[in-house]
């Protein structure tokens, strides 16, 4: 199963992200204070620095590997990914000062879909709180070190919103309610 749909999708996203980072002179980060129409779509391919890009690529690859291992449907993965990404738009009305770039919220959305699918093997009462802890760990460490900045908390809230949205859209899907955590073990 070398040519998996999820694998192809992730490879395409990774290539676009890398091309945007190294090829585009412009930053398409999304912010209410300087809103341009293309940014509404293109912010997901734009990254602030090389570390941001590498972490998102690594997260995307591992989440895709988990999705493939769980036989997650391609539609579920893509839906959770894009819902996770575009949940940022209404949140920007709540936090108008924030600048958003990258697909990390989509990765957390897809991760939530995977963790929901894996609930028979790893219970959700373990995985969801752990993932939430990882999401907010940047804020927690910045509070502990005394360098707390509101922008860090906002970034964590965006990630958490992506995670919740991706999970919620998968939990609400009818077929997921019928096929309770079934995955092919053959």
């Amino acid at each position: 199963m070398l040519l998996n749909n999820i694998l192809l999708f992730v490879a395409a996203i990774a290539v676009i992200n890398v091309l945007f980072f190294f090829g585009s002179p412009e930053n398409f980060s999304l912010s209410m204070s300087a809103l341009h129409a293309p940014d509404i779509i293109l912010f997901q391919f734009s990254h602030f620095d090389v570390l941001h890009l590498i972490e998102n690529l690594l997260g995307l690859v591992f989440t895709a590997a988990l999705a493939i291992e769980l036989d997650l449907k391609f539609e579920s993965f893509v839906l959770a990914y894009f819902v996770g990404i575009f949940v940022v738009l209404p949140l920007l009305l709540v936090f108008p000062g924030a600048a958003v770039a990258g697909n990390s919220t989509g990765i957390f959305g897809a991760l939530a879909a995977c963790l929901f699918k894996a609930r028979r093997m790893v219970p959700m009462y373990v995985t969801y709180p752990l993932a939430t802890l990882f999401i907010f760990s940047i804020s927690l460490t910045s509070i502990a070190s005394g360098n707390f900045a509101l922008s860090v908390l906002k970034a964590d809230i965006f990630h958490f919103a992506g995670f919740l949205a991706g999970g919620a859209i998968n939990i609400s899907m009818k077929e997921n309610k019928v096929l309770v955590g079934v995955c092919n073990v053959r």
């Binding site: 570390l51 972490e55 690594l58 997260g59 591992f62 989440t63 590997a65 988990l66 291992e69 769980l70 991760l111 995977c114 963790l115 894996a118 093997m121 790893v122 995985t127 752990l130 993932a131 990882f134 999401i135 760990s137 940047i138 460490t141 910045s142 070190s145 360098n147 995955c183 073990v185 053959r186």
Partner: protein
């Protein structure tokens, strides 16, 4: 710079979390596969 290192380590830890879930799922599937094979052997025995 130290903030940068903290953010980097948390990012790596989050990726490691996803990787550990992946490993756990692979092992769980392996266990399920073995159980299935055992059940199939028992069924074949019962059916003669």
């Amino acid at each position: 710079m130290s903030d940068y290192l903290v953010f980097m380590s948390i990012g790596i830890a989050t990726v490691a979390f996803i990787a550990s879930i992946l490993v756990y799922v692979r092992r769980a599937k392996e266990r399920m596969r073995h159980s299935l094979l055992r059940l199939e052997r028992i069924r074949d025995k019962l059916e003669g």
